[in-house]
Point group: C2
Chain length 325, copies 2
């Protein structure tokens, strides 16, 4: 089957490359660790010239041989590659954002080998506390393509990660989203705060400890908020009620629980309804499994997982941009 | 005037020594950086023997000359020196805790020079999410000694710090307290998260940026909680609405604001009253000034600062323990 598009999901710490055929079918895919914060640095010959540029080197690694074989293939990329620290900054598009207006706002960088890389802009929501995403917009649009247009009314798309995003959609558009720094907060607390000193990490997932953390966030004890309850990961250790191996997943459940309690609160308020929306999760399967447990405990009754969101989103954006011959 | 007591406030990163006369009057005081996590390590002669023990060395530095001059002086110490990582662990006393029951629960370590050091235990509250303090109990008891016994009914004592404590008192007793990890969270977010990358630190206190952060926590935008609002320290930077020099104090105000909004909520609930208690703050004057601004914004109308809380508390505990000749 003939390839029609090279699609790159180029984030901070990883670079995924997809060779796609008609309809977005995946012919081949690769995972590299060449995110924009850890680009390769060993110079090599590219198009007859010695090159030391990290973006060029990563691009060659990811798909140089595909382009050697089919030099006319279009290339599209999303993620932090379009940030101020990326290969070429692609200015944010405002909400509401859909495939049509993002697809016609791609930025372009000409690579050394003469191929244009089309970069998807991120999305900005200019609320009083602004919100931005870069990469997640492509995943959300990928999921929306496979849903009926009416699906958005009672739907929330969740993208767990260092900075989790919760995206409201309508008529194929991203209309509103919230960010929670839960993942990064968990990491810095575990690695750099006093809570990490008594944690024993590396064990298998302790679902009981995780669920216990979620329940604390949901309980009246949790009403005092995460700035206070996080101390219980230490104090329950001091009283012997939480072992060192349990502390990590307890803290994880506690923070994710607080995120979801807050999310449920704002969703009920915005929708002026006691019932909560359906959820579609996109992301790392282990992290999505944690969120799924916690969502269930927090009363989100309908939760499903999306597959291949990024490559589908990139395919549809390339189509909207007229890149597919 | 004759000294009657040596009082040590011995924490994680500092050691303060006081020589006290009748009534707790301070004759002399010293500040050393020999907290229990940064003890001296150069061996020296103590009582005719070469010694490399960090606690002994710090103790000699702090008050060896005072004891040479008056070998019979009693010595009392509070703070992390009584923790599991300290010189001698002094088991926590349960709430309710007052001068009498803490004063009769001192632990004792015999120093190399033959002088006993009496260590004040910390306090534990065995609630569902337990709380512990070590050092703060002495400060709170020091403040209570100068107040009428009835003062506790509508009073909350605040001890801002890495882990701030908010202490409810009655009849001279510590009866309940909450911990917030606000200070440590601010530090790890500024030093180790993405928020720190765009902060420009070291400038003078920016009260406007701080107040703006407090107001966000107080606003309906703040209802989504700190796990989400902290991202605004970055996103307001991306949109040019918050300069790099403003981001640090904005984040400080935002976190302290969330702490105080949560505190006000639980206080109103526990007291079953819309009115908020009077506040006495104990601690570092710059940090107390930040909390005072934020308390005012959050509707705490009566706020005052305590002086000499630690040395007064140590004096009264020594008295209750019968250490004062």
């Amino acid at each position: 089957m003939q390839a029609q598009l090279i699609a790159l999901d180029w984030g901070t710490t990883s670079l995924r490359a997809y060779k796609l055929a008609a309809g977005g079918q995946v012919l081949e895919q690769r995972s590299l660790s060449s995110g924009i914060m850890q680009l390769p640095c060993v110079p090599r010959m590219i198009a007859g010239r010695m090159c030391a540029d990290g973006f060029e080197l990563a691009f060659e690694e990811a798909c140089g041989d595909w382009l050697d074989a089919q030099p006319e293939l279009a290339v599209i990329a999303c993620g932090m590659v379009g940030s101020a620290q990326g290969w070429r900054e692609a200015a944010y598009c405002d909400t509401p954002a859909n495939v049509a207006n993002l697809g016609t706002s791609l930025n372009r960088v000409r690579s050394l080998r003469g191929v244009d890389v089309h970069i998807v802009p991120g999305v900005i929501q200019r609320s009083r506390l602004p919100n931005v995403m870069r990469g997640e917009e492509t995943q959300v649009l990928g999921v929306l393509q496979s849903l009926p247009a009416s699906a958005g009314d009672n739907l929330l798309i969740g993208l767990p990660g260092s900075h989790s995003k919760w995206v409201e959609v309508a008529d194929g558009c991203i209309i509103h989203f919230d960010t929670f720094m839960t993942g990064e907060l968990f990491a810095v607390l575990s690695e750099h705060s006093i809570l990490g000193r008594t944690q024993e990490r590396g064990a298998a997932f302790d679902s009981d400890a995780f669920d216990r953390g979620v329940q604390v966030a949901l309980s009246t004890d949790g009403d005092i908020g995460p700035l206070s309850t996080v101390f219980s990961a230490r104090s329950l250790g001091l009283t012997g009620e939480l072992s060192p191996t349990e502390q990590t997943d307890y803290l994880s459940g506690l923070l994710i629980g607080h995120e979801l309690v807050a999310l449920a609160g704002v969703q009920r308020l915005r929708r002026n309804s006691a019932s909560l929306p359906s959820i579609i999760l996109i992301g790392n399967s282990q992290l999505c499994a944690r969120y799924r447990r916690a969502l269930d405990a927090c009363g989100f009754a309908r939760v499903s997982l999306a597959e291949q969101a990024t490559e589908r989103g990139l395919w549809h954006l390339a189509e909207a941009a007229g890149l597919l011959g």
